[in-house]
Amino acid sequence: MRSRRIGAAIGIYLLLVVGAIICLVPLFWLIRSSLMSTENMFKLPLILFPREFRLQNYVDVFTMVPFARFYANTVFVVTFNIIGALISNLMIAYGLARIEFKGRKLMFSLSIGTLMLPANVQLIPLFLEWNWFGKVNTFLPLTVPAFFGNAFFIFMLYQFLRTIPRDFDEAAFMDGASYPVIIARVIFPLMKPAMAVVAIFQFMFTWNDFMSPLLFLNDTNKYTLAIGIRTFISTFYTPWGVLMAAATLTILPLIVLFFIAQRYFVSGLTIGGIKG
């Protein structure tokens, strides 16, 4: 019995280690390649561990294309998206959860219903709409939508709001506070963990978003990182080392954020699947 248990434990570890290696090797390969010169990369047999680190690729990233510009653009767009997401989703969720009005149930189902609507289905209508406004090739199509809420966040905050006793609101109401004041002074402080999840996920969504910048930005100087990376790939000559360096620089903030705020990631992910 005992030996069997030890055997099982060894088996589990073995599988876990193999899985971990499979998860990590591509990332290792990315970083390894970013530190090599092109000629060393194209040597057979392959050099698995480069002898010397070549940082030139990381310099070239910034000289070949306006990569610093891409970074600045991305940070700009991400900042506005986070602000928009925090304000709009809290207000909408509060309205749906707390304020009695006609058609509330319908509004709730409608906004949750958009969860089922795949983003790519709306692409062309969205493009036409922004084209109509004449705002293609500006940052507006990338930032404004965040100020109109997102079904996933609304649902999450709605669930969270239900755990906060109404007495708090009512007490503040008695003291003459208006809805904005209640939201800002009473609800927001209590919802800080949920708001952190919103901020982090919005950061991830926007940082990784490929489709909207691809549709709405034509000017290289306005590119975000996600589509900026693509400028390195060409049918004639792709500088692999530089491309890998650019990719590494793109994921760096995400990895740092993940290690700082790991617990929020898990709670944000599981809220839809378990509580829903």
Partner: protein, 266 residues
């Protein structure tokens, strides 16, 4: 939405005024456009290949992480890492890994004595390659499974022990039924996600070789922004929407037979 429905019935190249053509666009995409059906086929193939495999592997991983082992946190972090990587970056990264001559995967195959495989350069392997890449990105699904597993009451599992059941019995009669709503959730979310396949073929293969990785959304994109057929592209978007809805509905309807909600017992 209304604008989109109207546009889908017009012949419009963005430059001239839209011309109303009724349902003609819908008829045309099904009869004249051979690539349209091909792109649906590719997308479905990709979805049915990658969703089940990913779910099985993710569930297996979650079960392993849910057992009494040390260093769970570290493994969980490592398994989640791929999910952090933006699709653009993972596309670029896998493009390089799949490289016929200088890619790491073929290097390992060579090391094991197998011959090199033309991954994304062959019509047969390109969709499976994209599926492998998609499966690598397993963290989200696994974390959700893991949270579901942690919600399973231990007294039920102990009851199996007392009755002399083995691990398989626990899995089959306790874990699987109690986890079924989570399985359903993961399945729906992933099927919808896979049907939207775009960035990977756009970056890695541009739909090639010979359109064998042309996905539905890539085809829509090409029609709209490459060939300037806004009306056609919009009609296709509607077909995609309806197809997604139908598939989700089928999964929902059939799920009554295999999902188990504790609340239903009374």
């Amino acid at each position: 939405m209304g604008l989109s429905l109207y546009t889908s019935m017009t012949q419009w190249d963005m430059l001239s005024k839209a011309q109303f053509v009724g349902f003609q666009n819908y008829i045309r995409i099904f009869t004249e456009d051979k690539l349209f059906l091909k792109s649906i086929q590719n997308t479905l193939y990709f979805t049915f290949l990658s969703v089940p495999l990913q779910m099985i592997i993710a569930l297996g991983g979650a079960l392993l992480l849910n057992s009494q082992v040390k260093g769970k946190g570290v493994f969980r972090t490592i398994f989640y890492l791929p999910s952090l990587i933006p699709i653009v970056v993972s596309s670029v990264m896998w493009l390089w890994l799949f490289n016929y001559q200088y890619g790491l995967i073929n290097y390992f195959l060579n090391l094991l004595g197998a011959s090199r495989v033309k991954w994304i350069d062959s019509t047969k392997m390109v969709i499976p390659s994209l599926a492998i890449m998609n499966i690598w990105n397993i963290g989200n699904v696994m974390v959700i499974f893991l949270a579901g597993l942690q919600g399973i009451p231990t007294d039920l599992l102990e009851a199996v022990d007392i009755d002399g059941g083995r691990y398989w019995h626990k899995f089959r009669f306790v874990i699987l039924p109690l986890l079924s709503p989570v399985i359903l959730y993961n399945m729906i979310v992933n099927v919808i996600k896979c049907l939207q396949l775009f960035v990977e073929p756009y970056i890695m293969t541009n739909g090639g070789p010979v359109n064998s990785s042309l996905s539905f959304v890539l085809h829509i994109y090409n029609n709209a922004f490459k060939y300037g057929k806004m009306g056609i592209a919009n009609a296709m978007s509607w077909v995609l929407f309806i197809l997604t809805m139908i598939i989700s509905l089928i999964i929902f309807k059939t799920s009554n037979q295999w999902t188990f909600y504790e609340g239903d017992k009374q």
